[in-house]
Symmetry: C2
Subunit: 430 residues, 2 copies
């Protein structure tokens, strides 16, 4: 048996999957707060037109434009699905373990799947610049790349606590021509208020989103791109799970357990939504597990309307949230450190379709477990993806106890080549 499957180029999915019409009940729409100006009416000034259409679409399948398909191929799609044969042996588990390789990406993560789509639409709409926030830096790098490839300028507001230790990722963004600011920064009005109080402010994704929105809002040639949370972002990412489903057909297998890490939800959603669609439409029995950090266990928060950003520029979204101004301790898997979870995934969690596990803030267990994966399968997961690996290994060990031959699918959303200082800090490598 081969330990890898991939698709012919002709078999790469040409439509994204929009789960909205298949949800068990209607998705609660965004709403405005009781006071202040309408955020919803302001959305066309902030967002790319086609992305806004997609955000509210009820079509199940949306064609991927030919130009975006070309960009996907240029970015190395399709990405293989691997059977983790060495890891299974090491764990002595009867489980069959499969992992998707989103790390085969120019910037090292799945984030390019939506970055390319958003930049392609932005360019077509006549914009000259995109702005955004980034936490772990994977999204900021992806947008820097997509902007360069499509001929746009790019401005990134990067959570300072991460900006400070990921020098190499910063260099890569600059190499691709992006303009990068540690957030909170002095270049926006909102950022300056926080910056002036404390120039070493750790920052948060919510704050950085506010800065990105303000920066694009004042420049008619700029538009804002978000890397997670929203419906259209998750939809662009479904290319991951759709490919994975076809690759499972090649293996003649199908998952019992689908696992991925989750912050805002773009990785989890992209990987799991097509399988969640199978669960909803075809009655497939699948266990879905979202791996989180205890510093940002947003799926264990409250299911209520909250802002997506710190400064309350966005509409309110119905989601699991820790509060949009919550303090969350920096971690190495910083891509998981966001106060809220995507409305789609929040609803599915609320309806009992998604389990969750949250790992301790010191990350020792997570990184030590990821090391077993590195030693056996040889790929270096990003710190965030290490949470997926950890959860998958725990499920495989449960199978060793129970003797069950479950099929476990997990996504390695990114590689860790630009995050080695994080591994060193947690594992104390020389």
């Amino acid at each position: 048996m081969r330990s890898m499957a991939n698709l012919k180029l002709d078999d790469v999915p040409t439509q994204w999957y929009n789960i909205v019409p298949d949800l068990p009940e209607p998705l609660p729409p965004p709403k405005d707060p009781e006071k202040g100006p309408s955020r919803i009416q302001n959305l066309p000034n902030l967002m790319i037109g086609e992305c806004l259409n997609q955000e509210f679409s009820k079509e199940r399948w949306i064609d991927i434009p030919g130009g975006v398909m070309d960009l996907y191929l240029k970015a190395g799609r399709p990405r293989p699905l691997f059977r983790a044969t060495n890891l299974e042996k090491r764990l002595d588990t009867p489980a069959r373990m499969y992992y998707k390789s989103e790390f085969f990406s120019p910037t090292g993560s799945h984030k390019v799947n939506t970055a390319l789509a958003q930049c392609w639409y932005a360019k077509r709409q006549g914009f000259e610049r995109v702005t955004t926030e980034t936490g772990a830096g994977q999204w900021g790098t992806a947008l820097s790349y997509a902007a360069a490839i499509t001929g746009l300028k790019c401005t990134v507001f990067w959570v300072r606590s991460v900006y400070n230790w990921k020098k190499d990722r910063l260099s890569l963004m600059k190499l691709m021509g992006a303009d990068v600011h540690a957030s909170p920064s002095p270049v926006t009005e909102f950022g300056k208020k926080l910056y002036d109080k404390n120039p070493e402010h750790d920052g948060s994704l919510g704050i950085a989103i506010s800065e990105g929105l303000e920066d694009s809002g004042r420049d008619p040639k700029a538009t804002y791109c978000l890397g997670s949370v929203l419906n259209h972002v998750l939809m662009h990412q479904t290319i991951i799970g759709l490919e994975t489903q076809k690759q499972f057909e090649i293996f003649d297998d199908y998952p019992d357990i689908v696992i991925s890490c989750i912050g805002g939800g773009s990785n989890f959603g992209g990987f799991a939504l097509p399988f969640l669609g199978d669960a909803l439409k075809k009655g497939k029995k699948i266990k879905f597990i979202a791996a989180q950090s205890q510093v940002a266990a947003n799926l264990q928060g409250k299911y209520e309307y909250d802002f997506a950003d710190y400064a309350e520029i966005t509409p309110m979204l119905k989601m699991y949230t820790l509060g949009h101004q919550a303090d969350m301790k920096p971690i190495k898997g910083d891509g998981l450190r966001y106060h809220g979870s995507s409305p789609i995934l929040s609803l599915l969690r609320h309806k009992g379709f998604i389990d969750t596990i949250a790992y301790p803030a010191d990350e020792k267990h997570v990184f030590e477990t990821a090391k077993i994966f590195i030693e056996t399968e040889g790929w270096l997961p990003a710190p965030e993806s290490a949470y997926s690996v950890c959860c998958a290994i725990e499920e495989a060990l449960k199978c060793r106890e129970s003797g069950e031959k479950k099929v476990i699918a997990f996504n390695i959303s990114g590689h860790g080549f630009l995050d080695m200082p994080g591994y060193r800090a947690v594992l104390g490598l020389g």
Copy 2:
């Protein structure tokens, strides 16, 4: 037209190509120096048996064992061939440019192609440990990976001038369980002599080879693995060029110019030898260009017998060499810093089949040109691969002048995610 081609798994080549029987004249064999013990008779004590057989084989095609094929798939083969459509537009060239993506590798370079084969053979022969040298660190990382995957221990002697600035690559080797020493090190007799004189000695690949050989020579359970220069190493790497040939068939195209960077020759040979075979056997008119650094322009040295290592432990090889104890200034593309060139490629160079170009030691031109590739195609080349990119771009610009629609093929032998401090040092990124 699609800008990427890849192979179905069934179409991945299952044999390596050995060019030796197709060379224009017999390959000068290794020989012993006039004085001292026989190095040639000592080879079976230093090398893996099957690799030694392959080193002297005159068979044109050698089957890739099933176990190695499995490892190739686990390492993400086949790797795509891309048409550089964005780069062509930016350069405004009538040339058609294609690049092979050896960066799609667990450790970030082509080096895994021979590391996996060597470790698989070593394991089968009953060895428990492999030792080696490394310059840029790509080979040391690849062997650390291959050893981990096949269940062997690994000891790496790493040229100190590079060891000192590639902290992240060092962490990765340790994450994979390797034992890594800056070379010259105090742990071998030969290394200790140099180390005691100067503990900050820059080191060289020749010195590190001597240490690796000494370390395996004194341990019957260990064997030595070399990452370049030798016939069997280049042969394992021909999987690159063989895949590329089939991918060119999908594009319905064929190269006029084949370019890659060269140090010892494993990357250049792996990519170019199948095409050189076409030139020798089928009379194909192809221009081959090896891109080098002026600090180690070994193909512009003397064609004569010389040792492969500093301490004269190896047999003498007929090759282009700068002298096995030559001083070479450290560069960021350190994988190109070796005094000699593979005997096979040296003979082909001697017979006029290979052109060469050497770039200045400050590397500014090379990295600035690579930045154009990053901005347009989005992939981050390793510093060594930046030399290939630079040469390919120069050839494409010549086509712009002449109006010729040449087809240019080049190999991106590795990615630069673990080498960002090099980019920063040369380009002064913030």
